[in-house]
């Protein structure tokens, strides 16, 4: 238990996480008081299932943002993964193919940014287009059928614990282990904080950046598998929204887009806030069309409250 607490600790480079936690706590309290159905098992189960894809993709995004980059191709990788999982081939081969494709996307992104000096937004925007095209070629319209074991691993439960929660906790612990228990995690903070200083201190900056993009793609692949299992089918455009939403979730959780500041716990909190906004508005019978306004406004308030030292992306 102590080990788990250590993994999820809030380090001093976690950013404005208190604000995010405060926002989440207030939202949860308000929901409990004003929305009677909020604590119902079915609602919590829905909330969890809807938020897990976002949490997993945002965890991967956190690695990239910590280096000072941005990965908007996450959404396309999720879409490609759901499309591949419906292909007519042995399930084991499908999973391997998903991992191979995601790794290839991560390597191309990382190599482009670290070695070829392309700006992260431009590089990942390019691969986002390529990934979206690939997903539409593999599966032109939503449909197909994913392996039964995948659907069951998402929809079922282990005792009282919903499987979605297991996916979420495992992904968070893996991300926390990488960030806080491996030298790579320290390299990420160092490279994102000050690239020149990191290099002078022997940090393999370029390799760290490439690995961050590969990790982001692999987490997106896991998020895609979860989404495919939840839908029990593929959707070539099903991941499109997650490219930007994963960045939004990380930013809401106090991860600085300039790099070097952020935490796994913060990202989980940020994704939870986003998931909660949708859930609460559904429960309160607020028009679904206003959800975009609410999310945009909430994001603006939180971003404005995190004033940075420099002007920029």
């Amino acid at each position: 238990m102590n080990t788990v607490a250590t993994y999820l600790r809030v380090p001093y480079r976690a950013g404005a996480i208190r604000l995010s936690i405060g926002t989440l706590v207030l939202m949860v309290l308000a929901s409990i008081i004003f929305l009677p159905g909020f604590l119902a098992g079915e609602n919590l189960s829905n909330l969890l299932a809807q938020s897990t894809t976002l949490v997993i993709s945002a965890l991967g995004q956190t690695f990239v943002i910590l280096t000072g980059g941005l990965d908007v191709s996450v959404g396309s990788i999720i879409s490609v993964t759901t499309a591949i999982m419906t292909l007519d081939m042995p399930p084991f081969v499908r999973v391997l193919l998903c991992i191979a494709v995601a790794t290839a996307f991560g390597l191309v992104n990382g190599y482009g940014v670290a070695r070829l000096n392309v700006h992260p937004i431009i590089m990942t925007l390019a691969t986002m287009g390529i990934g979206q095209g690939l997903a539409l070629i593999i599966l032109p319209i939503p449909g197909g059928r994913v392996p039964d074991w995948l659907s069951m691993s998402v929809a079922g439960s282990i005792g009282p614990l919903p499987n979605a929660l297991v996916w979420l906790v495992v992904a968070s612990l893996v991300a926390a282990w990488i960030l806080y228990r491996r030298p790579f995690g320290l390299y990420l903070f160092a490279a994102g904080g000050n690239e020149f200083n990191a290099r002078m201190n022997g940090v393999p900056v370029k390799r760290t950046i490439i690995n961050a993009y590969v990790l982001s793609a692999l987490f997106a692949c896991a998020a895609g598998m979860f989404l495919a299992g939840r839908l029990a089918s593929g959707d070539p455009k099903g991941g499109a929204a997650f490219g930007i939403e994963s960045v939004t979730a990380a930013a809401l959780g106090g991860v600085h887009l300039a790099g070097g500041i952020g935490s796994i716990f913060g990202t989980v909190v940020g994704a939870a806030i986003l998931g909660l906004v949708n859930n609460v508005m559904n429960l309160a019978n607020v028009s679904a069309f206003l959800q975009s306004v609410a999310k945009g406004a909430l994001l603006l308030v939180l971003v404005v409250s995190q004033r940075r030292k420099t002007i920029g992306l």
Partner: protein, 328 residues
Amino acid sequence: MTTANSKPSAPSSLFNVKRAVFWIIGLPPAYYVLAILIALAPAVSATLINPNYWFVILKQSAPLGLAVLAQSLVMRVRSIDLSVSGVFAFAIYVASSGLLNSYPPFLTVAMFIVVGLLVGVTNGVLVAYVRASAVISTLSVSAILIGVVQYMSAGRAPGSTPTWLRVLTSGNIHGLSYSIIIWIATSVLVAVAFRFLIVGRYFRAVGDNPRAAETTGIPLARTIFVSHVTAGVLTGIAALVQVSALAVGTIKPGFDTFMNALAATILGGVTFGVDRGGVAGPFVAVVALSFLFAMLTVFGIQEPGKLIVQGLIIALAAIIYGTRAGRI
């Protein structure tokens, strides 16, 4: 033997040839792409070399061209504007929903510019003065605008666009559509401002090195604010031209506009802080991209193929610049 009083000798012809070769090599990728496409066009289809067809392509490119001009302004000062889709959605909805039918036409035209201006001011304040992330703040503004449009329309498509407004695309002077004239005139205005006004030098200085620019007394925040406000107004004009090309309004103008705008800007030699392409580079890039997509349509390549080609073009153009000099 030269003396102190002798005039310096004129550059040799070899020197001039060398300079010309370096100039050609240094051109943005858009010029090469357009040259290759023009060379290939006769072999693909006779229609592609028909001058009337080129006018049609230019007419269709005008909204994108104006959006690219806007995006290139903010990218010059190392910022980005992701609110393009939001401005398009909002302005197109208001113009085609009949909300302004009882008002004089000039008010509808003014609405586009005012919407663009307000969004530009909001983006500018957030990015330059509040120092919020340009990606997140402009994205939030876009999300709010799209949400408002969806709420007002309840998800239904709005009505038809005003008939009188369609003259911008259908009307012409000697075959040149008004929309193309607006695009060219605006591009020339921006180019002249960059060449002769002090703000052009500010933009270049901030793009080259914001910290150095601020240290030397250039108003960093104000320059970035001005870039966002100008970009907002230009995006409003782009939305106006886009509406004039539509018979029926839409609430989902799509992410394509932003993606294509970014692709053309990079292809035209303007990226974060890099301004090799000037105003002409992105202009040529818009024509090249539109011509490329027309050619892909002739080949029967559908949306997935076009997305892949678009992605490859962005990646290749960015890699060429990235390997030439520093991060872009």
